[in-house]
């Protein structure tokens, strides 16, 4: 009996291996086959991938002043009024202030700013982030990491992390000075809460209101050589995207608010993040006031025939907008990444 079981299992394993082998074999063959066939016939279509999804969703409205997306750095104050889950004050929260200052000073140095400003051009043919006029600039000496200051905990939002900017910048910083940056990436609300629990040395977020509340409560402080707690040094744009046919005619709208009004008036499908993220907060501020759309589910219960509160990440929402030929508000960096990957769903 037991022998039969083990025999059966061995059989399953062999079958599984065969299945893997079989699907492995035709895959490269399929990928390679069209290539040699096309070489003698250069007139053929330049896209050899058979089932490449063409992204129909495109940018309809951008570079409007109402659509600026500001990114700020805030160092977490070691003397902040930290409190445990029951509200009792906690005074000995351990933060790596030296490491946090080093990372902020490097990001605001000439080298760090140049790298950030040029990020993405090679890959997408467009700059993803712009440096702000009158931004804070640092010339401070950056100390090399020591055993105590090595580990830096950065709490940030998904949009910064998903654009690949941090993956590009941080290894350069780490190699040069010997630090290790641990990136905790979540929605703006959750990543600020993480810092308030004493689990981050600095934050990089994009929601002015929430940043100001964070400072107000005493969780941030002014670094040596800086003028303010909130170090707003780069920005990019939110963009309003939708089907290329543009049934609502938002392209012709005078500004972005008029564009949102056109979508609402015509009841064209709109995908909202619906998750309290920075992008969601921005989107709510752009609807005509008489609609009364807020983050509260009650506020859009009459619009459910066209207003879709997806409650998920930016990429997943873009996939949804593409499938439903819907309008959507997104940060430009994520949208360019989405298009470059052929709508990611592939």
């Amino acid at each position: 009996m037991k022998k039969t079981i083990s025999l059966l299992l061995a059989l399953i394993m062999i079958l599984a291996l065969c299945a893997c082998g079989q699907s492995a074999a035709p895959a490269p063959a399929a990928a390679q086959a069209p290539a040699p066939a096309e070489e003698p016939a250069p007139a053929a279509e330049p896209a050899p991938e058979p089932a490449a999804l063409v992204v129909d969703t495109c940018i309809l409205k951008e570079a409007d002043d109402a659509m600026i997306n500001n990114y700020s750095l805030l160092a977490v104050n070691p003397d902040a009024p930290f409190a445990d889950a029951d509200g009792n004050p906690v005074t000995d929260v351990e933060l790596n202030t030296v490491g946090a200052a080093a990372l902020i000073n490097w990001l605001l140095s000439e080298e760090g700013q140049d790298l950030a400003a040029n990020y993405g051009f090679d890959q997408y043919g467009e700059y993803l982030f712009y440096l702000k006029d009158g931004r804070p600039v640092s010339t401070a000496e950056i100390p090399a990491a020591t055993e105590e200051t090595k580990k830096i905990r950065l709490s940030t939002t998904t949009s910064v992390n998903d654009s690949g900017l941090l993956g590009y910048l941080l290894p350069i910083f780490e190699d040069k000075y010997g630090y290790e940056v641990e990136v905790y990436s979540a929605g703006t609300g959750k990543s600020i809460a993480n810092a308030k629990m004493g689990n981050a040395d600095l934050i990089l977020v994009h929601s002015k209101k929430q940043e100001e509340a964070f400072i107000e409560e005493g969780f941030s402080y002014v670094l040596d050589g800086m003028d303010a707690e909130r170090l707003n040094w780069m920005y990019n744009y939110f963009v309003l995207c939708g089907p290329s046919a543009d049934p609502a005619g938002v392209k012709e709208a005078a500004d972005v608010k008029a564009a949102f009004k056109a979508i609402a008036d015509g009841k064209y499908t709109f995908i909202s993040r619906g998750d309290g993220s920075g992008t969601h907060t921005k989107e709510i501020s752009l609807w005509p006031e008489e609609l009364g759309i807020t983050a509260d589910a009650e506020s859009f219960k009459d619009y459910t025939d066209w207003y879709i509160s997806a409650n998920t990440g930016m990429g997943a929402c873009l996939v949804m907008a593409e499938e439903m030929h819907a309008y959507i508000l997104t940060d430009k960096a994520t949208f360019l990444t989405f298009v470059a990957n052929d709508g990611v769903m592939g």
Partner: protein, 228 residues
């Protein structure tokens, strides 16, 4: 599905360093936590099954409740305890592999205790009758009992390994899914899904299932041989 399978194979063949890191973290977390849970759970399970002592019923009910604990609640609890403002902050364990293992041990041990208790409570009375009749001592009695249990110990381990490798709520909370450090297969799948990279998510899922299959095949073969 076809493109996901192709992507999965491409990923494995390319030996992507980030994927390898995720795989090794996954292996470390789920092997360590399932073995630790086994070491703690089996003796306790046998004890609960073979012995009758006051409070046993209460402990069993508590254990069954713990089996149903949602992983995300367990994760949240550990997040609060080990946070920068939590009571265990000086241990510096939040967002480390160690704490992920501890959280999983807490999740898995009750399952092992439950499985072992059920089996032993069923087997022990008959076995005891025989050993008493033959005049064996307590130590010899337990030796025989453990020998009887080998097959179900393996079953319990397979169950706990499956729970460990499939679990996402607790490891995402206490690990923070930090790249190159605490990102495991399930949290990586969550991350790609949120980004809209469904193909990549399914590709990772296929790799995870294949690995799980291989581990289960090996363990099941050992189980068959050992308990013959």
């Amino acid at each position: 599905m076809g493109s996901s399978i192709r992507k999965a194979i491409e990923l494995i063949l390319s030996a992507d360093p980030e994927l390898l890191n995720i795989l090794s973290t996954t292996a470390k977390v789920c092997l360590t936590s399932s073995v630790l849970a086994l070491v703690i759970g089996v003796p306790l399970g046998i004890l609960f099954g073979a012995e009758r002592f006051p409070g046993r019923k209460v402990l069993l009910v508590l254990n069954r409740t713990l089996i149903g604990m949602p992983p995300v609640v367990c994760g949240l609890l550990f997040y609060m305890l080990f946070s920068g403002v939590g009571p265990f902050r000086h241990l510096h364990l939040l967002f480390t592999v160690k704490l992920m293992i501890i959280a999983q041990v807490v999740l898995i041990t009750p399952i092992i205790i439950g499985v072992m208790e059920t089996f032993v409570a069923d087997t022990a009375p008959a076995l005891r009758e025989t050993t008493r009749g033959l005049g064996f001592g307590r130590i010899k009695e337990y030796k025989l009992l453990i020998n009887e249990c080998l097959y179900s110990i393996f079953s319990a381990y397979l169950l706990s390994f499956a729970r460990a490798i499939a679990e996402v709520g607790a490891v995402a909370m206490v690990g923070g899914a930090i790249a190159w450090k605490t990102n495991v297969m399930t949290t990586a799948i969550m991350m790609y899904t949120n980004r809209g990279s469904f193909t990549l998510g399914i590709a990772l899922g296929l790799i995870l299932l294949t690995l799980s299959l291989l581990v289960n095949v090996v363990l099941s073969l050992m189980q068959g041989r050992l308990s013959r």
